[in-house]
């Protein structure tokens, strides 16, 4: 197995312990892709860097970022200045705190990656292993911020199957307020217990249907553990999720 391509390289710092790490993909693209064609002649379209003014191909080194201003003008900045705005976060993920994974609402999760040891000296690899083991034992996850490709991310790092998983997260101001959603709740209209019980029975029975296999064979989260889960669920009608600190893997 070849070594996965690093999307970012830097260090994960934990107190005064620095662990050199590379960020690698945790997802693969399984979507169906079409080729773009030119309608006129049916010829495939090549992706090239082409100057819209001069009509020539541009070498990679001559490409920079442009930002369009409200008055139609534009600011051109070189790639090199952007990371320089925050040099430390461009190279380091500083662990600011550890949190319980169960306290993080799924709304915040964005994109998963893996962190793998980047240094080949035994000390770095052992520091990586130490952090992995300690987080795995406690079911705690580390929070830190870092800059990748001219964007700052909040990231949560935790142990998963013996490796560190980093998931980028949304910042609080990127999540919309709930106000204005048609939730239609008037206190006097609370459903009766009988209605709820009927609905719960329906939820439980439909569990047994399972997820049908379609063109893409999907494994629904939780489906592998379905029999034990539903058995447990039937015994206790209202299990407290918050009290469960263990998160079974799926």
């Amino acid at each position: 197995m070849s070594v996965a391509r690093a999307l970012w390289t830097g260090s994960l710092s934990f107190g005064l312990v620095n662990v050199p790490v590379s960020l690698v993909a945790a997802t693969r693209d399984v979507d169906f892709h079409f080729r773009q064609l030119h309608r006129k002649d049916g010829a495939p379209i090549d992706v090239q860097r082409w100057c819209s003014k001069e009509d020539v191909e541009i070498p990679y080194e001559e490409i920079t970022h442009g930002y369009e201003l409200e008055d139609g003008g534009q600011v051109v900045g070189s790639d090199l200045e952007l990371p320089a705005i925050e040099p430390s976060r461009t190279r380091t993920i500083d662990i600011e705190q550890f949190v319980d994974l169960a306290d993080v609402d799924p709304l915040y999760f964005d994109h998963p990656y893996f962190l793998v040891p980047a240094g080949d000296d035994d000390g770095s690899i052992r520091a990586y292993r130490l952090l992995t083991e300690v987080m795995g034992r406690t079911d705690r996850a580390a929070l830190g911020q870092f800059v990748m490709r001219a964007k700052e991310y909040l990231a949560i790092v935790r142990e998963r199957d013996g490796a560190l998983t980093l998931t980028t997260m949304l910042f609080a101001d990127e999540i919309r307020e709930l106000g204005g959603i048609d939730r239609a709740y008037q206190k006097s209209h609370k459903p009766t217990r009988k209605q709820l019980d009927a609905r719960s029975r329906c939820s439980r029975s439909s569990r047994a249907i399972g997820i049908p296999t379609r063109t893409r064979t999907a494994t629904a989260p939780g489906s592998s553990a379905s029999s034990t889960v539903s058995a447990r669920a039937r015994r206790s009608s209202s299990p407290r999720m918050a009290s469960s600190r263990t998160r079974p893997r799926i």
């Binding site: 064609l37 930002y67 993080v104 292993r129 929070l143 911020q145 964007k151 919309r176 106000g179 939730r183």
Partner: protein, 253 residues
Amino acid sequence: MARSISNGTIRFGVAAVPIKVHSAVEDHGIHFHQVHVKDGARVQQRICSKDGKAVPDKQVVKGYEVRSGEYVILDQEEIDAASGRRSRAIELEEFVRAAEIDPVYYERSYYLGAGKDGRDAYRLLHDALERSERVGIGRWVFHNREYLVAVRSLDHVLALHTMRFSEELIDSGSLDFPAPRRRPGRREIEMASALVDELHARFEPESFADSYRDRVLELIRMKARGEEPDLPEAPEREDAPDLMAALEASLAA
């Protein structure tokens, strides 16, 4: 709250809950485009392989390669028709506990509002999910793609998350990174655990902010005024001391 982006129905068993879908996320990113450093002209990337000229958007069609170099052109309507299920129903097929879903499965989040004449049904589904502490798993066709989705109660509304399919996730076993010659010792584990405890806090999302975004905007404003920015120096990183010494120093700090 922004307008809804789609209407639909959640079905489970014989029940139908009309819903409106709203995005739960707003994009605050700063968007750049690629320009030619010499003249600031936009970089045009789509070039016809036959005549070597830039292709305008309207002239781009989708093709599928049937034999090497031979394509069939498909237009959007044909693709839509082929995608089959055009139903707007979200079928909930099973109910699981939220804690059983690994965070790597969550993709994008939406809020669901009650649809027309659907308040009672909406409330019932909301309360049933809240009371049973379950998440409904189902499928949703949106923009001609089929998604695996999780529907759950969130405060007084329902939230929907699109989920990654497990075949989209790479197994950590394929990473193939070296193991240390010596496993971390008991004392190292104890000290690292003590450090984790010391840094343990309740998750407060508001305490994290994207300061980089503001600084990039400031940089853009300065450059627009023709000023040269004063950029910070990269801090020197000290060489890592040995693991034990670093742990000791961290705990003493």
